[in-house]
Amino acid sequence: MEMKLKDVLREKKPAILKRWFDVILETYPAETADFLKGQKDRFTGPVGYTIYEGIDALIDGLIEEMPLEKASPFLDSIIRIRAVQDFSPSQAVAFIFQLKRIIREELMDEAHGTLYAGALSAFESKIDALALVSFDIYMKCREKIYELKANEARNMTFRLLQRANQLYGIQEQGPNVETTNLK
């Protein structure tokens, strides 16, 4: 990245972070957003905290050109939360794209946008890459939820089956079935 843009972004980071956090909060119902905003403590306000810490690290990662695999845990921590909240898939990940608008507007303010047009579009393509990863993460989270539901249900039906077998005098469980399912 062009050094100049990096410096400007570093300087603008607090403003960008604040606006991004606010934009994310706006995706929640008003009462909820107000509350999340106040969540400063890691343990007594974990949702607001996790989102805030996550985007903080993501912005740093983008500016400091962190490799994608290193940034994705932070993305994961945010999307993992949004994947179990009342969002459609597009709503759950839309916040990534909003970062582009925020950064453009922040730079526009001081007419930097035109100055760094080239560097900026390179920067934005990194945000796009994050967005793509976020789809993967979202899908993984949802799949996980269904897997967890299925696992719990299967554990139950397995035992039901086992019981049924005994009812009909089928004592043989097959050691493999038994051990794999007990584990």
Partner: protein, 538 residues
Amino acid sequence: MAKVPKPEELSKIDYKPSKKRWMDTPVEFKEGMFCHGTRAKYLETVGFPNPREWSSKDEDWKLPENWKEIVLEAIKERLGKYRSFRLFMDICVRCGACADKCQFFLGTGDPRNMPVLRAELMRSVYRRYFTAPGKIMGRLAGGRELTYDVLKEWWYYFYQCSECRRCSVFCPYGIDQAEITMIGREILNLLGLNTDWIAGPVANCYAKGNHLGLEPHTIKSNIEFMLDDIETITGIRIEPTFNRKGAEILFVTPSGDLFGDPGTYTCMGYLMLFHELGLDYTWSTYASEGGNFGFFTSMEMAKRLNAKIYAEAKRLGVKWILGGECGHMWRVINQYMDTWNGPADFLEVPVSPITGSRFDNARATRMVHVAEFTADLIKQGKLKLDPTRNDHLKVTFHDSCNTARGMGIFEEPRYIIKNVCNHFYEMPEDTIREKTFCCGSGAGLNAGENMELRMRGGFPRANAVNYVHQRYGVNMLANICAIDRAALPTLMDYWVPGVKVTGVHELVANALVMKGEKERTQDLRLEPLPGKEGAENV
């Protein structure tokens, strides 16, 4: 081309600029946040009102004509029967101290999950129909009409509360939302409004003796599977007894331990420990449930299920009762059992046959918590323990809501863990002991269809586990609750992969050096013990 929405528009679809007051905001049933309505057959088994097929998603819940009358009459009756209820309806000042103490509020951000507001759902109706200002001034005095929507709101939110009592710790007047939720659910049950996940276990437990509906021979055979595994691991064949008259001790544990992992490992732990001690005890297939989903239904139902424990102790002629690791079971035993079904004058004050310690704290109920029992054994040096067998585990302990805030059993399990494990780390102070967070699945919320609710309600707990996981490499979450053992593995799998879940007595049995055992190469999960893999070949 159609106008493509901008990202910010897209994500705002759900955004409600609702600065409306809560009474003006109708309840919205959100997918993943509520359970299926109960099937008729479960209600019929226990003789509950209004059995019918219905779905919580339906517009029409097929309520009796006079449902409103039933509800108001029920509130009136309970105001006269419970000082707690009447007081908690009157004295809240809405200071907000409880607001951010509920894990369901922390996880969902839904304002009606603030304990104070969950209580106001009921309180507003109380004011409208049972207080003079509310009758005269209605809304102005905080009163609200009881409507069909209000009833649905009650159902939705009283089944989003795990009765964990965390709010009551912080309330300056000790207002306990669990109490209001319990009464709310009791009233809903008068209209046949339970969840399938609660009513099913209740019916099972009533008819067959346990939540899972395990019949006597199945209980025995399930335990026999465990005995086979124990033999594989230790080379020792254990032969427990069932429904044996004249045993000194009756052992009662939640049936979850007989059935699902990792509860079964905890159960193996009990079997091994009691065998090693040569304890004169028996299992019962009739009183084969320590847990009590009736407690999540109505006081009367809870009492009907709980009655079997004393009845069985009396029939078998035991001297006292030992209870396994379970959360709400112990709230029930500590705070309700003797009142409902006592006095237990046919039993004796419990004395440990191994150490001779007299459990004076259980001198009326005559039922001892297995963690109290084992802590005493360890303290008196009666167990030979090799904690290095748990060296591959970095353990933290989750206090279960009910044993924490409805009993106060904090040190016993910790003492045991510290004696059987070398690596123990506490989670942050605000998230343990009396301030512990719920697993998100208590009080009958551990169904499948409300998985999102469970994951969100459990997030504050998982978040604290994640902290010790990252900081100390904690990989095992110990607890003394069967619902925890059922629900936390799922919670961990989603939020903190790499952390497994265990009962305390699984850890005990892993460390327990038994007389005549072979060199152990596997733990109770039949997984190789690190550092002992090659031992078998030596």
